[in-house]
Symmetry: C2
Subunit: 155 residues, 2 copies
C-alpha cells in the first residue's frame, strides 16, 4: 500500500517546473516558452534519477496536458497551466492509475454478492482523493525559495 515512485516522480517534476517558473518575473502567457526549457536531463541530475523512467513520466504528463513538451534541439518542457490549476487528486489519480483498492474478481471471490467491504473501501478511497482535491501544485510551492535553492544546488 504505497504510491508508485512513478507518481512521485511526476510530482517532483511539476514542483521543479513550478519553482523554476517562480524564478523569473512570471510571464502571463503560459504557452510561451521561457528562455531555456527544462530537460529530462535536468530533472535526472537534480533528483539523481534514471532518465528512462523520467522519460516516461514526462511523456505521460505531456499527454495529460499538464506540461507542454518540445522536441528537437533546445527542446524540453514547461508547465502548461498555472500551478493553482493543477489539482493533486487529478495528477495522482492519473499517474497512479485509478484501479479499485481491493480486488474481488480475478480470482472471483464467493462472498462478493453479499459483501459490504468493497463498497466501504471504495468510499474510503474516494475520501482520500476528495482530500487531495483541496490542494494544487501551488500549495506544494509554499516554500518556493527554498525549493529553488535546493534545485539549483543539487548537481
Amino acid at each position: 500500500m504505497q504510491l508508485k515512485k512513478y507518481t512521485d516522480y511526476g510530482l517532483r517534476i511539476l514542483m521543479y517546473l513550478g519553482a523554476k517558473e517562480g524564478a523569473k518575473e512570471s510571464s502571463n502567457n503560459r504557452t510561451e516558452a521561457p528562455e531555456r526549457l527544462t530537460t529530462i536531463k535536468d530533472i535526472c541530475e537534480t533528483f539523481s534519477l534514471s532518465s528512462n523512467h523520467v522519460n516516461k513520466v514526462v511523456h505521460h504528463l505531456g499527454r495529460l496536458q499538464l506540461i507542454e513538451t518540445r522536441r528537437g534541439k533546445n527542446g524540453g518542457f514547461f508547465l502548461a497551466k498555472a500551478p493553482n490549476e493543477i489539482r493533486l487528486d487529478y495528477v495522482i489519480r492519473q499517474l497512479e492509475g485509478d484501479e479499485p483498492w481491493i480486488e474481488c474478481h480475478n480470482p472471483y471471490c464467493v462472498a462478493l454478492p453479499a459483501c459490504e467491504l468493497n463498497g466501504i473501501v471504495a468510499r474510503g478511497k474516494e475520501l482520500f482523493y476528495d482530500y487531495l482535491r483541496e490542494f494544487t501544485l501551488a500549495d506544494l510551492l509554499k516554500k518556493r525559495g527554498q525549493l529553488q535553492q535546493i534545485f539549483s544546488t543539487a548537481s
Copy 2:
C-alpha cells in the same frame, strides 16, 4: 495502490467466523468454544485459497487477539471478540502494515526539507483510516443470512 490479498483474506476469515457465529443461538460467553471449530481447511475450501497463506493470516489474527486459536485435534479458531468490537481500521492497518504511502528516504529525496507533499498524502491516508474506523465486523455481516448460504454452499 491496492490492498494486499493477505489483508483481504484476513477480513474474509473474520466474515466467515462472524457469519457462522450468527448461525447458532449466540452464546454470550465468547471465550467458550462452539461445537466444532472452524479450521484453516474450512476457509481454504470455502474461498479456494492456498492453505499456507491462510495459515499465516490466521496466525496473525491470533496474535492480534481478534480470534482465538486452538491447536491439536478438534482444534481451530473462533472470534475472540464480538463483531461490533472489531474495527475495520484496526484490522486493515495491522494486516496491511502501517507504512507511509510515499517514500521520501531510501533513496533520499532532495526536496524533502521543503516538501509539502508528503504531509498532504499522510493526512489523506489518515482520513482513509478515519473513515474505516466508523465500521466494524458487524457492518460486514449485514447480509448474514446470504453469507451463511454462500459459505455453506461453497465446496
